[in-house]
Symmetry: C2
DNA sequence: CGCTTCCTTGATTTATGTCAACGTGCGTGG
DNA sequence: CCACGCACGTTGACATAAATCAAGGAAGCG
């Protein structure tokens, strides 16, 4: 799991985390786990599968804000923002951990380090949004597609999915279009172009990355590279090396 | 200050917060407060003035990710992400509060509620990025401009700037262009159009909103409205607030 | 005074959207 | 089994929003 990467959890933190992950649910593709502009009281962590976070516009189009992969959170700020602007829909069958958003408030008091770890997940999400802005703001259609696919592959690997598996991405061209602010027709044309260059192969609902390095070149990926994959060890240490000694002033 | 709006700070929290805000600095317009892909060890809170957070591309263009207003943070996740992808440049003279990023780790242990408040700021930032994606992803040029201006006005008012003052926005057309993924020429044309409709007036480096309601209509603003302006009171209560000071006259 | 920054406008080009038609596989119900 | 609808992808012809190129004006500033 992605949270394991954090490397800042000791036994007590792990127990708290296990508590959060205790309640698992299986959901099927197509299910809308969180509706747009509706109250949020449940926070979820995606354990397996793919989902999208999106917002719809009055004219019926939708903008995908971010793709959610194993280890990503849904409604992380549920306790702090009572209504969600965005909706979340599962695009494959998924396994989810679910708990009341208010539980997070306790977590913050029980374990500052786990709290920090969850903030770290939130911060990652923010970085993904920044990449998304970069794609849509400054890149042309082909580069947007290449960039998105490379980012997703990278995130899959960080989530512990095997590199070989991570070459296969279960998205339709329509989903790509909704994410990148392009028409499905144009996405198709660009994909065919990338296929001609042997960078990519597509099937119905599947993208296969043939040449990740070539794709990176096609979009200057390294320029927009997000580096940190884990909380720095010294920060973890400063967050209470000896948990037993920690006398907290909480009631 | 925007943090006052949170309404969840008791005296002890306030003391911790005062500690963070103790070290003030005056900086002038044009200064780059944080460089791209460089280490972060200082976290800042903008007390007055305007700044931009942006990333540059290899071909010399830049994408503005977000505008920073009084109450916004710079390098909030400095302790958790040691390098910053984005740069921050002041676009007016600014007053900043500065403290070592590691201080935040202590804050998390000293006051879970203040920690939550800071997370809330982070979550707000994320919502602004989502709005930005919506603008760039699904709106045409004129609507993007109107939407951005309306959002900025709204944020100014939330930051405690008087409504009358908040009608005046100190940006150049080039900044708008860099934020919205448009050419400066086209931004100019769209602005002239909005001026013709008496929704807007522009001067060199200044936008004046003549008709905020009209601008909202021009971009379906309410559809993408972000609602929560403060941490919900019950969440604050659950974070260990003593009822002593917080006796509210509510029914 | 001559720089620079910011804005303005017109002519032309280009990337992408829209419309339309068609193919394929796939599940469902008759 | 077939027939049908449906989701997904493909391709061409055409329309259009926005970029680019070019030229110039107005204000601030050393």
């Amino acid at each position: 799991m992605r949270l394991d990467n954090l490397k800042l959890l000791d036994d007590r933190d792990a127990a708290v985390l296990d508590g959060l992950l205790a309640n698992e649910a299986e959901r099927v593709a197509g299910e809308i786990v969180q509706a747009e502009r509706s109250p949020v009281d449940t926070t979820r962590i995606l354990l397996s599968g793919w989902a999208i976070r999106y917002q719809t516009t009055r004219d019926g189009r939708r903008q995908i804000l971010n793709f959610l992969l194993p280890g990503d959170t849904i409604g992380l700020y549920g306790a702090l923002f009572r209504t969600s602007d965005s909706a979340v829909e599962l695009i494959t069958d998924c396994r989810l951990a679910e708990f009341p958003s208010d539980r997070l408030l306790q977590v913050f008091e029980e374990s500052a380090r786990l709290g920090a770890a969850l903030c770290w997940l939130g911060g990652q999400d923010e970085r993904f949004l920044e990449q998304q802005i970069l794609r849509i703001g400054v890149m042309n259609a082909t580069a947007r597609i290449a960039h998105l696919l490379v980012e997703l592959q990278r995130r899959l690997m960080n989530a512990g999915i095997a590199p070989a598996e991570a070459m296969t991405i279960p998205l339709t061209q329509k989903l790509i279009a909704d994410a990148l602010g392009l028409s499905a027709v144009h996405v198709n044309r660009c994909c065919r172009e990338l296929e001609k260059q042997r960078l990519l192969e597509t099937g119905p609902g599947v993208f296969t990355l043939l040449d990740p390095e070539g794709l990176k070149q096609a979009c200057d990926y390294d320029v927009h590279f997000t580096r940190d994959d884990a909380i720095p060890a010294d920060a973890a240490a400063k967050l209470g090396a000896e948990p037993e000694k920690r006398n907290r002033p909480s009631a």
